[in-house]
Symmetry: C2
Subunit: 400 residues, 2 copies
């Protein structure tokens, strides 16, 4: 590919994303829905104008990293401390209830299998695919609605982060049981170590940044060094601790969230995000999907899979939030906010395929789940928020 | 390459670029020198921490596009109109004098060859490599010094743009003479057509943007649609007219430069540029260089090549600016501003290699010329500007 060819893809993506984003707003839906739909329309599913490429994949990765970094920056640490234990409980419910429901769903379709049986593992992997929440769509929606810094928003984001870690641990355990060569304990150890190291280094970095911030407030170097920290933590999280890179980015944001200049950093990141990387990330969800190539033989299963996937998260997380003392509507917000699935679901499906526990046909179901949940979550969240808070409308108008 | 691996490269580049950029400032040199040196140091030449990859290449291309787009945005059209004919003359001098000097240099080293001889073509190609100015370093330096919108700045940028087009035409003619299958006239036609089409569509786009700008001033959509225009023009320039993509980006900037919100667009682009793409672009100049692998057999030739390359541009463009009525110091500024070479020189060398007119050993000379000119230009420009205008110092301080 010639270098200038990237401008063609970027031009089509940004024009389509902006156009469908505005259409979505006209229809009172969040813009992010329009951006995902834009990807579906210009991608291989419909028009075939832009194909998914490695370059777009990297750009999308930077996009989701920036998104999680700003979510971290806008977190109130006091809220995080208050929400910590509740988020852990909600995350556990959000992992184990979908896991159980997915396993049962597979058995309902293809017959009961006892523990240890090949079919049992297949069922278990179907459940595993349902465990990982992808919080980026929810984060973007909450930002659009101006609700990301609220207590419910912080709860959702931190629960999703913990959910991700628990999901990886459960995946490791299941693969470990199937293939004893895998080392389960080190995965546990490294995940724990990541948060410990983050805590220690995070505090050190925070002190350093506070001095820089005091000495040179509002200079370019603050967001630049902040971004560098975000890159480093994203990379180290995934490379050395086996934790998702976006978790590293979020933690980097949380570390810097108490700085005086945190809003300043966040604003700069936001510009990078909405101008270039954000549209690429959201459109790439649609771009990676090719509706034409889906396997029709498992359409009925896919339909049930999507339903079970959405409901198990809503009910699991919603019920647990209720237990944790959240009010009715807030429970629903948390449940809905946690129901989006993203590429982690595809990665789990890929792992299942590679250990021979699942056939490629199930990718259809996973893609349906990702697309449907990505489109429904923002719409439902907006409805839930707009009923009680007419002010949200105003916030959306000024920021777009 | 795993997706998260890009964060490692980006982290190293941004930290090194910022660090050496600050060191350069301490030494009273422009930051961009530090960023290029950062690439040399972390790249294969010295530390080998980061290798040049396709991804970094694409990022760098977006970086130089953003740079030229903002240079266009900060152009005063009245200046451009006034400078137009002068810039054309300066560009002609900047093409033909280095072309002649390079040809003579080769013959001085390897013996005189008559017109049409194989050796004559080799000499001609050495001259051709010297023709193309790479204006990005100069643009960044002038921006740092706060001089990009001044008359001399506009003259340099527009002369460099015209220089580029003339350089491509001359290259096409030479290849056409060597290989009659090449169609020379269509290259001429398309270059002319590009500027004609830009004029017509540019005016239409300008009217459309003016309406958008009036109806929704200071909204995100203005810079987003502006960026989309820039992508489209960069792509079309290269794809359909054979004109460099950065010329398209510059023209897109000029089209939008008369809008009320042009500073607003430019500020948003600047943030994208200095946070992410700029450091990658400047560092990538150093990254692409591997000093260890240079061919020692032509070191003496390289030394003379660099000297002739720099002096021929300074003298050629400087003398012609004098003819055009510029004052002494301004002539030197224009000469120095035009002396930077970049990847176009490498592309010409590549073309010469592919038509069998030059051996790979000469890449060493070209790389030396690029690195030396990229580092010297900002330093000389800063000296030239700072002597008379102590205010420039202040501008540098507040923007970094």
């Amino acid at each position: 590919m010639e270098k200038y060819e990237v401008f063609r893809s970027l031009a089509i993506i940004i024009i389509a994303a902006k156009f469908f984003g505005l259409c979505a707003r006209k229809l009172k839906a969040p813009q992010v829905v329009g951006e995902i739909v834009a990807g579906l329309i210009v991608g291989p599913s419909i028009l075939g104008l832009v194909g998914y490429s490695d370059f777009l994949g990297y750009m999308a990765e930077i996009g989701v990293m920036l998104l999680m970094f700003t979510a971290g920056l806008e977190t109130r640490i006091s809220d995080l401390r208050k929400t910590g234990f509740k988020a852990l409980l909600i995350a556990c419910a959000g992992v184990f209830i979908p896991l159980a429901c997915g396993t049962v769903l597979y058995m309902a379709f293809y017959g009961f299998a006892p523990w240890g049986d090949e079919e049992f593992y297949k069922a278990l992997f179907v459940g595993l695919i349902l465990t990982a929440t992808s919080v980026s769509i929810t984060v973007q929606t909450l930002k659009e609605l101006g609700k990301i810094s609220e207590f419910v928003g912080t709860t959702i984001v931190s629960a999703a982060i913990i959910d991700d870690v628990i999901g990886i641990l459960v995946l490791t355990i299941v693969i470990g049981i199937k293939d004893p060569a895998q080392d389960i304990s080190s995965t546990f150890l490294m995940s724990g170590l990541f948060f410990l190291v983050s805590l220690v280094f995070g505090y050190l970095f925070y002190r350093v940044f506070k001095r820089i911030d005091k000495r040179w407030p509002h200079t370019r170097r603050i967001p630049i060094i902040g971004l560098a920290l975000c890159y480093v933590m994203s990379y180290c999280a995934q490379k050395y601790f086996g934790v998702a890179d976006i978790t590293g980015a979020y933690v980097a944001g949380v570390i810097l969230s108490s700085l005086d200049d945190s809003t300043y950093i966040s604003r700069k990141m936001d510009i990078n995000s909405y101008m270039i990387f954000g549209p690429v990330f959201f459109a790439s969800i649609g771009l990676q999907t090719d509706i034409k190539s889906v396997d029709p033989s498992i359409l009925l299963f896919s339909l049930c899979f999507v339903l079970v996937g959405l409901l198990s998260k809503i009910i699991g997380c919603g019920a647990m939030s209720r237990v944790c003392g959240f009010k009715g509507r807030d429970c629903l917000k948390i449940g809905i906010g946690m129901m989006t699935r993203g590429e982690v679901a595809l990665i789990v499906a890929q792992r299942a395929l590679s250990v021979g526990a699942l056939s490629g046909a199930y990718f259809t179901s996973v893609i349906f789940l990702i697309v449907v949940s990505s489109i429904l979550t923002p719409i439902f969240l907006k409805i839930l928020y707009s009923d009680k808070t007419p002010k949200a409308e105003v916030v959306t108008d000024t920021t777009s």
